[in-house]
Point group: C2
Chain length 396, copies 2
Amino acid sequence: MAEATTGIAREAPASEADHPRDSEVARFGADKPLQLDAGVTLSPFQIAYKTYGTLNADRSNAVLICHALTGDQHVASRHPVTKKPGWWETMVGPGKPIDTERYFVICPNVIGACMGSTGPSSTNPATGKPWGLDFPVITIRDMVRAQAMLLDYLGIESLFSVAGGSMGGMQVLQWAASYPQRVFSALPIACATRHSAQNIAFHEVGRQAIMADPEWRGGRYLLEGTNPRRGLAVARMGAHITYLSDAALHRKFGRRFQDRANPTFSFDADFEVESYLRHQGISFVERFDANSYLYLTRAMDYFDLAADYDGFVANAFKNTPTRFCVISFTSDWLFPTSESRAIVHALNAAGARVSFAEIATDKGHDAFLLDEPELFAIVRGFLDGVGQARGLSRKR
Amino acid sequence: MAEATTGIAREAPASEADHPRDSEVARFGADKPLQLDAGVTLSPFQIAYKTYGTLNADRSNAVLICHALTGDQHVASRHPVTKKPGWWETMVGPGKPIDTERYFVICPNVIGACMGSTGPSSTNPATGKPWGLDFPVITIRDMVRAQAMLLDYLGIESLFSVAGGSMGGMQVLQWAASYPQRVFSALPIACATRHSAQNIAFHEVGRQAIMADPEWRGGRYLLEGTNPRRGLAVARMGAHITYLSDAALHRKFGRRFQDRANPTFSFDADFEVESYLRHQGISFVERFDANSYLYLTRAMDYFDLAADYDGFVANAFKNTPTRFCVISFTSDWLFPTSESRAIVHALNAAGARVSFAEIATDKGHDAFLLDEPELFAIVRGFLDGVGQARGLSRKR
């Protein structure tokens, strides 16, 4: 019976934690511990990752893609759990702006996540059981430190570019700050140098929703054969609103009723927008681990680049050789353009080479994942330009 | 034992439902049923209300205050559960903009709420038990219809003014639409003629948080001696963010840590904004009923004035004699100024007398409840002006 109950709980998401499907796995043993900002080490640990394209002879064409909060390594190929296309297939692939016929693309799952890199649903080697809340709290810098170890493992000294949106953009900024000599160019998209009070507040509501679910069991749900599905679904629903915009919700749903002409005078999902949100919550739970949601939101909350550099973001980029292209979206209210402008000002103050684009769209924060021709054109153009500076041939 | 358990659940909020403290109660028997938009009647029912000041001889100085989602009748005097001052004491009282030395102020608890007007935590006379989800789903128009019956009961034919913010503002608009001859002037503040898709979405997340709490028991928690505190607290936390603004949260909390200099690397409330939100959630649960939260959010979602008037808001106000003062706040993103402008445009199209003010503040939607001198000056000036038109003496 215990087996059966556990079977339910360790379904899809948790089963990827130790043995991710359709992924490469880099394992780091006791000789290669990961130093964490919390003051402890993580060892052994592993990073699940995907690669696309071919590394050229002088190893100068590697592009690192950093994923967002609920993303993973399956950036440009079918997701093994949802069976859906990769989350950035519009951006990454043969002939796409991040062209896998030209660049060698690496996309690692971040540590703390649940798709094969070590995180709270992974097996704790000390106990043989899932880490749960015994997993150390990690930071964006810890994620990047682990990715640097992955690059060492892959024998890649320097990245042609590192790109990502949202939490991925935070990693991009951290990469450029921590390892300026390893980052030829950087594309931080729809992000900020620190998480705002409002964003921390939204994250805290999501965490409280998860922790309020009795099935969460103090984080021990995998051990106890439960799953805080309802709490995680509520967290996702709330967060999902922040990824869109008032205008996009109005355009997509307005006040239309779902499959009916009149209100039901009940608490059913009368409005299309309610059905849509419920679906977002339910489908998310099938692919994501609740504790990973806690850890990754926490990492974003803690992100504050200035705090590590005497209170000045510019100090993080002093004498940086990296070429930057900063991108924001007009209707993004989670990481509004003002945050990207602050990045640009800091880079200017540091004397960095930086270009900046604000893209007009009503799609909100999620625009970076969607079909935005201007975004594609800007990324393609930027990489073409820095590719020439790097001496990359136009086609391999 | 059943008694003891029930005792816990029927603590503070629920105990006000049938026998509200420090309130007047108007009871409507079988001869005076309330016709509901859902197509059913509510009978018997009661309205709990407060009055302040004195009705003048020709009954021409009555001001109706309509409360918001989580407000109640205790507008200008101590709340019997929280022991805190009334929710609008800055606006209503002797010498205040809505001057109780001049006007006779009536503030009813809306039906569906939990402070003494009939709602889901009231006793269903048919069963002798709390209504729970057997309570009919109500609308803003139903609330206003009940308030009109209260005015009949009080012998007040015509209101000098009706005022309210947020859900209160929706009631103000509905009053002017449903009973134009009974409304001499109207002050809809920080509201809209219909709830937006984004606002419906935020409400739906709150409802899902409540219904996901196993203590909710399909709405039968009062009967079963439980209380969905955690779900309701999560709902409140999420909603509370929408009542503020990014700028206000940044000004009040920024990224400051709570009682410490460095992060704890845990899921404790490290940041001040997290502590603040948790406190908002916990204290709300002590005074509010979870089912009422479902019913009142639903009523707001259903509000769509145009839908009742052939798709045109202007038709709701055709030939209206009412004088309007519409007010919005620059940083209110729940009911942004564009919504108030739409009200003004409709009133203009209907040939109504209307003034409009957008008040510059960073306090967000909640600004209507806070110390906003410009708001007070505008309300005072508007009421002075329409008082002259009504023939009210400057001081009684």
